[in-house]
Symmetry: C2
Subunit: 158 residues, 2 copies
């Protein structure tokens, strides 16, 4: 009954799904060109990835046709995007990392974090946000702690 292949997706294929999802979000449809730009790969690479994703029944794709996510593809994409957002949020909101650095690192780290860690991380962000014992705000507390004890590090930015 044509059950879609449930093998774990490679980091690369997850990136393509994520890009397609993000491009589809604002009403507009994902185009090969835009996917290539978003991921900074060649158009030919996009074609190759789309063929594989279509085989796995994660995208609806016919040569020269529109590109949309299948039901399953959408579920997968959302899983990846959600993970990305949680990780990025942790970097920015909790650690106070620069947005651009956080964005880039989240993009790579998202493939390494399994469900247990992601859920714990999400819960931890909520914990930090909601913490308010005796009027102490953990964001402020950590900021000032970092000012006192944080290393300079920096260097190559990322």
């Amino acid at each position: 009954m044509a059950t879609a292949k449930t093998e774990k997706l490679s980091a690369s294929l997850e990136d393509y799904l994520e890009a397609i999802y993000n491009l589809s979000v604002d009403g507009s449809v994902a185009r090969s060109k835009n996917i290539a730009q978003a991921l900074e790969v060649s158009r030919a690479s996009v074609t190759g990835a789309l063929r594989i994703l279509a085989e796995k029944q994660l995208v609806n794709y016919k040569p020269y046709g529109y590109i949309t996510l299948t039901k399953q593809g959408c579920i997968e994409a959302q899983r990846v995007v959600r993970k990305h957002n949680i990780i990025e949020k942790f970097f920015v909101d909790v650690l106070g990392v620069e947005h651009t650095v956080a964005q880039k690192a989240a993009c790579e780290a998202e493939h390494a974090f399994g469900p247990q860690i992601v859920e714990k991380l999400l819960c931890f962000i909520e914990f930090v946000n909601s913490y308010n014992k005796n009027g102490y705000d953990l964001h402020d507390e950590f900021r000032s702690f970092f000012r006192k004890h944080g290393s300079i590090a920096a260097g190559d930015s990322n």
Copy 2:
């Protein structure tokens, strides 16, 4: 003046350096066999990696000879190992993730975290450890918060 190549190492090569470092730590010397076991790759793959690392002057390697890290190799390895340990510590000590899951995820995530994030993360672990305003321990606080608000998730363990 034979300046060692300073190109960024691939995740794979970082893994090899890390394994060699860890095997060398307890006095004993890294052997090809043990590296293969540690990384769960074939002995032939180890030979290939060692050749490349030797070219980059990160290991001292002659066929059939002992394997040791060069000065620069040791610096690189320590950088990777330190990163790994900080990430794993965060997962286990702060998030309360199972040790085995944390270990595995840290191994993959270590290649994605740049210096800025690692330093912030380290500082954050120290912050959580040292926090003691009005006798509140953040570890306890989060544990109980997670019990109340954490999702079940689980499923495929990782």
